[in-house]
């Protein structure tokens, strides 16, 4: 392997520090014994303890978790269906428009997504609260699932499905017994991605929420405006932990899938 030059070492260090130093500081200060968020006063885990006694924070976390699981699950179903439509029905009328519309939310500023959803909810006179947050999170995470699943479907051998149907399987059962198990890793990583996106979201949730539904990012943001308490550091560290675990699982699944596919391909070539 090539040795890193001094320039590479410096740029890597700077780049990673830029990315991770704030988070490292955050986690470090969550173990701070003192009340101040900026002055070190020795090690302690007491802020973690007080997080679990703060009902408001726990309520917000519970809301966030419910929103995340619900919206990620629905978004996964819808996103997978969109990916199937895009990957399968080759050249239907308006395909380009459809795919552009599926992917547009990826690059759409969140403020615009949030505002337009708010306008929609107001227009149809929907009471804003828990369910409107779920709906808006489904909307903006669905496209991420579609992208992940579609990239898996691109390398899917359709004759496997044909073989199942040829053996007497109806198209409906074929999807559940053949297609879904094969693309399942991609579907799961899509779900993980949707879940973490929902967990992190502040902007869209702020636009679409109503009284009584406060997500954790919203709670943190409003608390911080009144002054940063060390408790917040602890909550944020916990969130970093959850998101990291989800992302790591998703990437391991994707990697595993790739390795397996490569191995299968190698075996196929060796068998020739």
């Amino acid at each position: 392997m090539k040795r890193l030059s001094a320039f590479n070492v410096v740029s890597l260090t700077l780049g990673f520090s830029f990315l991770y130093l704030p988070i490292v500081l955050l986690i470090l200060y969550s173990f701070n014994a003192g009340r101040s968020v900026a002055v070190w006063g020795g090690w302690s885990t007491k802020w973690y303890g007080s997080v679990f006694e703060n009902d408001q924070l726990l309520d917000a976390a519970w809301v966030t978790l419910q929103v995340g699981v619900l919206s990620a699950s629905v978004a996964t179903v819808l996103g997978t269906l969109a990916a199937l439509a895009l990957a399968r029905y080759g050249r239907f009328r308006g395909r380009t428009l459809f795919s552009a519309m599926v992917y547009a939310p990826l690059v759409m500023p969140e403020v615009i997504t949030g505002l337009s959803l708010l306008l929609l909810f107001v227009a149809v006179n929907l009471d804003r609260g828990f369910w409107t947050i779920v709906l808006s999170h489904i909307t903006f995470t669905m496209c991420f699932v579609a992208v992940v699943v579609q990239s898996r479907l691109a390398s899917f051998d359709r004759s496997v499905e044909e073989a199942a149907m040829d053996l007497g399987c109806t198209p409906f059962v074929t999807f559940f017994r053949i297609t879904l198990p094969i693309i399942l890793p991609a579907v799961i990583s899509g779900w993980m991605l949707a879940f973490t996106l929902s967990l992190d979201d502040l902007v869209i949730a702020s636009f679409t929420t109503g009284p009584g539904a406060t997500t954790l990012p919203m709670k943190i943001y409003s608390d911080v405006r009144l002054g940063v308490k060390p408790e917040i550091n602890a909550v944020c560290s916990l969130m970093v932990g959850v998101v990291t675990i989800a992302v790591v699982i998703a990437s391991i699944m994707t990697k595993r899938q790739e390795v397996e596919r490569e191995r299968a391909e190698r075996a196929a070539l060796a068998g020739r």
């Binding site: 149907m165 053996l167 094969i182 020739r272």
Partner: protein, 383 residues
């Protein structure tokens, strides 16, 4: 090497010559268009029970499309497909009495060998015990008993091919469709597997329809071969007839090696045809049937192994004889092919079986040679 058990002897089998026999598959004037492209162009064909039928042609000739229409993955744009007396129009793949073995094998990657084979039986909702028994029987048939719990990616290409085959025949379909079944195997394995497939077909008494671009494969295995070109059948015949009596230059050229000598018909009476040929510089006398009339342009088609090569001129060098110079010798092992540049221009090939081990050939490069043949060794083609 263990002694291989040979299957039953193949007897003469020609239901297509018997007007009273009822075909199992009837393809009636079937056409398939993809947009403005016609993949299959108004073809008709009968396939009989227990027949081993091959669709042979270059890629893009429509053979795979025709097979996919039999399996139900494509609907004909026009025409009718009848299998076992039942019109297949509108019947989806999962309700057809045929099974297919895919070119890519299409094994289910998330199921082991046993589960793959059992899949079709489970779909038929057979009792568990019967499924297990049938899977064991199939595993034994394709000699994969000890691989029952392996996943497809843990198998070699040849083993996967067997799993695909076992899975396709487990339901005992009336018709088994095989799409390039041996395409992914190496030559040695392919030849072995050809004979295994033949034995299997005899044992099971199933009708096999195979799609292939490999003429050796079709010739070795099939009872009849349909040669396809541009979506149409050029000729449907048993292998020997296809080889010895090709009806067009396309078939003659596609199946095996052939010399096509252009000439003009001077006489055609009672199966005796005489041609004047500029290529040989003499007369070609043929005992064969042809519709060619006097004055027509025609080609004399002669297989290289039916031409004799000699350093000495024959008694009558003006009839059924061409002379030239040996330009190249292709040593294949069992035969040697002599490429001869004719004195009149053009070239011919003659192949000689190497029945002796002497490597020094009496005829070598640059030799002046005479190629001769008997009147019944070739055919006359007009198109």
């Amino acid at each position: 090497m263990s002694a291989k058990t040979l299957g039953p002897v193949r007897r003469k089998f020609a239901p297509w010559d018997d007007p009273s026999s009822k075909p199992l598959i009837e393809i009636r004037q079937v056409t398939k268009n993809f947009g403005s492209f016609t993949a299959v162009d108004d073809v008709s064909l009968n396939i009989y029970e227990r027949e081993f039928f091959a669709l042979l042609g270059p890629s893009g000739c429509g053979k795979t499309t025709l097979m996919r229409m039999l399996a139900g993955f494509e609907e004909p744009s026009a025409g009718q497909i009848i299998i076992g007396g039942q019109d297949m129009a509108g019947i989806p793949p999962h309700k057809r009495p045929v099974n297919m073995m895919f070119q890519s094998y299409a094994l289910f990657p998330h199921m082991n060998v046993e589960k793959n084979i059992a899949f079709g039986l489970e779909m038929d909702k057979l009792p568990k015990g019967e499924i297990a028994a049938r899977v064991q029987e199939m595993l034994k048939l394709v000699k994969l008993e000890q691989f029952a719990h392996r996943k497809p990616h843990q198998l070699s290409g040849g083993q996967r091919q067997r799993v695909a085959l076992a899975r396709a025949i487990a339901k005992r379909p009336k018709v088994l469709l095989l799409d390039e079944p041996l395409g992914a195997l190496d030559k040695k394995l392919r030849e072995e597997t050809q004979f295994e497939l033949l034995d299997l077909q005899m044992q099971l008494g199933m009708t096999f329809v195979i799609v292939t671009h490999d003429q050796d494969e079709a010739m070795t295995m099939a009872d009849r071969i349909a040669v396809m070109d541009k979506g149409q059948f050029v000729q449907i015949s048993p292998p020997a007839e296809l080889y010895e009596h090709p009806q067009t230059k396309y078939v003659a050229d596609f199946i095996g090696d052939i010399n096509l000598l252009e000439g003009r018909v001077t006489k055609n009476e009672r199966g005796r045809i005489t041609l004047d040929s500029d290529v040989t510089g003499g007369v070609i006398d043929v005992h064969a049937d042809s519709s060619a009339g006097a004055g027509d342009k025609a080609w004399f088609a002669l297989r290289p192994e039916k031409a004799a090569i000699s350093l000495l001129p024959p008694n009558d060098p003006q009839t059924n004889c061409a002379h030239g110079t040996v330009w190249d010798i292709g040593y294949v092992g069992d035969i040697s092919v002599y490429h001869v540049r004719l004195d009149q221009g053009g070239s011919m090939r003659a192949s000689i079986a190497n029945t002796s081990r002497v490597v020094e050939r009496p005829i070598t490069w640059e030799d002046k040679v005479y190629l001769t043949w008997t009147p019944d060794s070739g055919v006359v083609l007009t198109k």
